[in-house]
């Protein structure tokens, strides 16, 4: 029947043929695509192999040329000639006879020795057996047998030793006979070795299989196939500068400490490690993959995954710098961020703010903090005039004051007082922390306010009390208590309030005005809504907490327990791994790329932009700051981290070990709470890196010098501190820095009878010492003190110390001035410092000269004579 349809189906044949051909073509394409199209890494590996082949061959050719240029082939020919001569000599009848004779002697001696050794083993076995029976039965017969055996063991032992000697001597004469040829052979081998190795490398490269390279981290089931394309990433040398063949940049920091076989790639770089079909897919730059690959400095965000403490972490410079911003802007005040639970309030105490500032100033500040000074950290909340007044009304009423302004330009103090104040301002180095008129404020980590317009902000009484004792108004402030007399403070207040005035300041309430209760209530609501208490301590809101939505549902409206305190903002502990579909892009869904990083950056740029009703204020960050902050936030993840990767911080380790972290105790704690040494200095891991670390200052410095320095600080390292940074790194060049004069020694420490300077000295000598630094120098016999000093002086001149160090007016200014070093440093410190300068200060520029102990003693003795006599 099939044949009957033949006449009307001719067009169907063409259709059939067409589709058959199409199907065949498709099948061929599927096979081709599966083999090559979807496996681009095969081509990369072939290319890499070819590149490496080129490089190895070039290496080999160069080595050959070098070899020949150095006369290698000539030498080789010589050696070979020598070898054949030696071999001929060895083949001579006389030598051959000797050789066979020695050989047979050796074999005979060896046989005898083996027999004796076997005998010895047997005897030892018997002895052990007998000993076993003896210990079990305590029969004296066994004891007797043991003695007999012991005697024969000794005898045979002696025999074995003698036979061994015989064998050795025969062996010696044998090798002497063949030494000539063997030596030459080894030499030839040695010469050829370098070239042979290179040749072998070339051969091995050809055998290198083309295959998927996968790293599997078992405990988190991560499979990274990145190396299938980035085949040279952990190579010993750079094969090509072209991607994907390059070596990992700075691999001595990253790969050396994070073995790729153990850590993989995506653990730090993210991306889609399993993908191998295209670069876009592998790098995660495709739709529905939430983790695009991190590149460059951005990768450092991953350090936060494992490193509990990134301070001083090599290779994490960018993220360390960025992390400062979290502290600077106090993100943790409103958001829960792991690791920042115990950091203090970022804003000043406002409990008595009504007694401090002008009402008009407060309104302007609330409206726009940056208008008062450009570096203000307080964000803009977009308050209306009305709202700002309500908030100020609440704050002022809580301080027990009314709306009032004080115009400090009235009642000008006399010029002499101002002059005195100005001198005191300079002497106390106020500008070290506080900027005025765009200058100063070099210690950026204390975030001291710009004082350019402070005269229009605060009243004189408050300023007087503040300088007298900052802790009274703001416990825990970073402002130190300078031990000024009342007269000094008066002059300083007079200078500041007249010098630093805002010409545009308004004083609307010179005539005080009452505050309306309705406004106060409204202010309180606003403060609660925007969470001012997150950064500032406020009166009447010390216990103010935000009730978690989950608790609110259960009817809880107020919490006193600070443990249960929920921050006003969203928790940020895992923002860096939050699924993108859970981020609310709101109005900007179509305006910005829908990925996590863009979301975070846009949020920082315009915190209320996504939709109406958002409360986060605008910090008006620079674009660079936005990038830095975003990179930190991106690192807060709930990534699955194997515990073996974790590097806990020192505090965590201490906690785990049940050790409490270092804390200042006793009278020194009282002094430091006042003088705030740790604003600039670091002591036992506490404090900043702005000024020298004082952790071993007690061993390093002499008591008398400390006393003098505290009374009259001077620059120690002149040029280093002044040297401009030449724009090589970002940041302002530091001005010439000296320590402020804190006027220690004039007052007693609270509740004690001791002078504060004595307490400081005592603490230095009791606590800040290390057993690494000896109190006295090792003695050198037979040399007098004068000889030691003379030799030290010679060495000082010989090594060119004065290129950097100055003594009197002679010498360079890169290193510390040594004119008075004999009074400043302890001899033990100098002695140890000369041994290895980096031991106590890792970033020091002083070279290591590799002095011997004696040389160090000479130099120390010489340096200790450099003393400035008291004037």
């Amino acid at each position: 029947m099939a044949n009957e349809n033949k006449n009307n189906s001719s067009y169907r044949v063409y259709v059939f043929v067409f589709f058959s051909v199409l199907l065949l073509a498709l099948s061929v394409w599927v096979v081709w695509d599966d083999e090559f199209g979807l496996r681009p890494w095969k081509k990369y590996q072939e290319d890499y192999k070819a590149l490496k082949q080129d490089k190895l061959e070039k290496d080999y050719r160069r080595a050959v040329v070098d070899f020949q240029r150095a006369g290698g082939h000539k030498k080789l020919a010589e050696l070979e000639a020598k070898l054949s001569k030696a071999e001929a000599a060895f083949q001579s009848k006389e030598n051959q006879d000797k050789y066979t004779k020695l050989n047979s002697q050796f074999e005979a001696a060896h046989d005898v020795l083996t027999k004796s050794q076997k005998e010895l083993r047997d005897l030892r076995g018997q002895f052990l057996e007998t000993e076993y029976y003896y210990t079990k039965t305590q029969q004296p017969e066994y004891k007797a047998k043991m003695d007999v055996l012991q005697r024969s063991i000794d005898a045979v032992g002696l025999r074995v030793a003698a036979q061994q000697k015989v064998e050795e001597s025969i062996k010696g004469s044998l090798s002497a006979l063949t030494a000539g040829t063997a030596g030459i052979r080894a030499e030839i081998e040695n010469m050829k070795n370098g070239l042979e190795e290179k040749k072998e490398k070339i051969a091995n490269n050809g055998k290198f299989p083309i295959e998927i390279k996968q790293i599997h981290i078992k405990d988190i089931d991560k499979a990274d196939r990145c190396q299938s394309c980035h085949i040279g990433i952990d190579g010993k040398s750079q094969v090509s500068n072209k991607q994907p063949f390059t070596r990992h940049p700075a691999s001595f920091v990253y790969l050396d400490h994070h073995d790729p076989a153990k850590f993989g790639c995506t653990f730090c770089h993210r991306g889609q490690g399993r993908a191998t079909t295209s670069a876009e897919k592998a790098h995660g730059n495709v739709k529905h993959w939430d983790e695009p690959m991190l590149q460059g400095d951005m990768t450092q965000t991953s350090c936060l995954n494992c490193h509990g403490d990134i301070k001083n972490l090599r290779g994490a410079e960018s993220i360390i710098k960025s992390t400062e911003l979290i502290k600077k802007y106090g993100c943790y005040s409103c958001h829960k961020i792991p690791g920042y639970e115990t950091v203090g309030d970022v804003g000043p105490v406002l409990t008595q703010v009504g007694t401090k500032v002008n009402y008009s100033w407060a309104i302007n500040w609330l409206l726009d903090p940056k208008k008062y000074f450009a570096t203000a950290r307080m964000p803009k909340f977009y308050f209306t005039q009305d709202q700002a007044e309500s908030i100020a009304d609440y704050l002022f009423s809580m301080s027990g004051t009314t709306r009032h302004d004080v115009d400090n330009t009235k009642n000008k103090p006399d010029a002499k007082l101002i002059e005195e104040g100005k001198a005191l301002w300079a002497q106390s180095r106020c500008n070290l922390c506080h900027a005025t008129g765009g200058r100063g404020g070099n210690n950026t980590k204390v975030y001291a306010p710009d004082l350019s317009k402070v005269g229009s902000k605060v009243n004189k009484e408050w300023m007087f009390n503040w300088i007298k004792n900052p802790n009274a108004y703001f416990p825990g402030t970073k402002m130190p208590r300078f031990r000024f007399t009342d007269e000094q403070i008066n002059s300083l207040v007079a200078y500041i309030t007249t010098e630093y005035q805002d010409e545009e300041a308004e004083y609307k309430y010179v005539q005080p005005a009452e505050i309306k209760p309705a406004s106060i209530a409204k202010g309180k609501d606003l403060i609660q809504k925007y969470g001012c208490y997150g950064c500032h301590k406020l009166q009447g809101m010390e216990d103010m907490v935000q009730v978690a939505p989950s608790l609110k549902k259960q009817g809880v409206t107020f919490l006193r327990n600070t443990e249960m305190r929920e921050k006003i903002g969203m928790e940020l502990s895992s923002i860096g791994s939050k699924p993108v579909e859970m981020l609310d892009f709101g109005k900007l869904k179509k305006a910005i790329p829908n990925d996590r990083l863009s979301y975070i950056k846009q949020k920082l740029r315009d915190p209320r932009g996504y939709r109406l009703g958002l409360r986060m204020p605008n910090f008006r960050l620079a674009e660079s700051e936005i990038n830095e902050l975003a990179s930190v936030l991106y690192g807060f993840t709930d990534a699955n981290v194997p515990t073996r990767f974790l590097v806990p911080s020192r505090q965590e380790l201490d906690r785990m070990a049940g050790v409490s972290s270092y804390k200042f105790t006793g009278d020194f704690a009282k002094v430091i709470a006042d003088v705030k040494c740790t604003n600039c200095h670091s002591i036992r891991g506490i404090g900043a890196d702005y000024a020298p670390d004082l952790s071993i200052a007690g061993s390093k410095l002499q008591e008398g010098w400390i006393r003098n320095f505290l009374a009259n600080p001077d620059v120690i390292r002149p040029l280093l501190q002044q040297m401009p940074k030449l724009g090589l790194t970002s940041g302002k060049p530091p001005a010439k820095v000296t320590m402020p004069k804190f006027n220690l020694g004039k007052q007693k420490v609270e509740d004690t009878n001791r002078s504060d300077v004595d307490v400081v000295i005592n603490f230095f000598q009791q606590e800040l010492v290390t057993s690494d630094i000896p109190k006295v120098l090792p003695q050198l016999k037979g040399t007098t003190q004068d000889e030691l000093i003379a030799k030290g002086k010679q060495l000082y001149d010989l090594k060119g110390c004065k290129a950097c160090h100055q003594v009197g007016t002679d010498g360079g200014a890169l290193g510390p001035n040594l004119t008075n070093v004999g009074n400043r440093l302890t001899q033990g410190f100098i002695f140890k410092h000369l041994e290895n300068a980096r031991k106590f200060k890792p970033d020091i520029v002083e070279p290591n000269y590799g002095f011997t102990e004696a040389e160090r003693i000479y130099l120390t003795n010489f340096l200790m004579t450099l003393k400035l006599s008291a004037k």
Partner: protein, 257 residues
Amino acid sequence: MKSLNDITGSVKKNLIWKSIFRRDYRNTVRDRAQAVFGNVFLHLHPVQVRESAVKLRFTWGMGGITFFAFIILVITGVVLMFYYHPSIDQAYTDIKDLEFQVPFGVILRNLHRWGAHFMVIVVMIHMFRVFMTGSYKAPRQFNWGIGVILLVMTFLLSFTGYLTPWDQLGFWAITVGTNMGAATPLLGYQGPFSEYLHITPYNDVRFALLGGAQVGGNALLRSYIWHCVAIPLFATILMFVHFWRVRKDGGISKPQK
């Protein structure tokens, strides 16, 4: 030529050949019919079909195409099972590996996925055609009923297969789908009258579907087993009934005339 005939003749006399094909074949009406009903796979099919019934214009061939899609899905599905673990840690990466690593994994998975979509569409067109041509009428009422159940089976296969890649799409689809179950009267904890049966989130129909109160590892395992074993088994049995009844109810439907 003669030798070729000799060879075929001797092969056909062979015991093995005879045991498979039982009798000699001559191109006659009787032998052709014999070939169909003597074969276990073909005997469901009618021996003779009217020419008007195979007009593409009338049947659209949708039933056959649906069965064809089903066969493709079974074959690709079985191969996919070799590469897939129904556990929440591995399911998604297994799918990713199919895309990146498994030889012919891309075509395999896409055949299965697009084939599934294709089958759902085609089976609905089949139903539409049957309805529009009135082919559900007597004597085919019973087979229409079987067909409706098979349609539901197809949808359930599609639904349960949706979760297996363990991606966001499947996760939320199953969440929404089973939440609908939670609103079933009497049997779902959110449904009306469920309180009379003491139904809670932990003993309702949703719990039975998910093997828990949330979409998790148990839900994945359950949907996997429904998808790969239980539903295909039911569907296959019903398909045989369906084909059998097509024949018994008077053959494939044809234009009235």
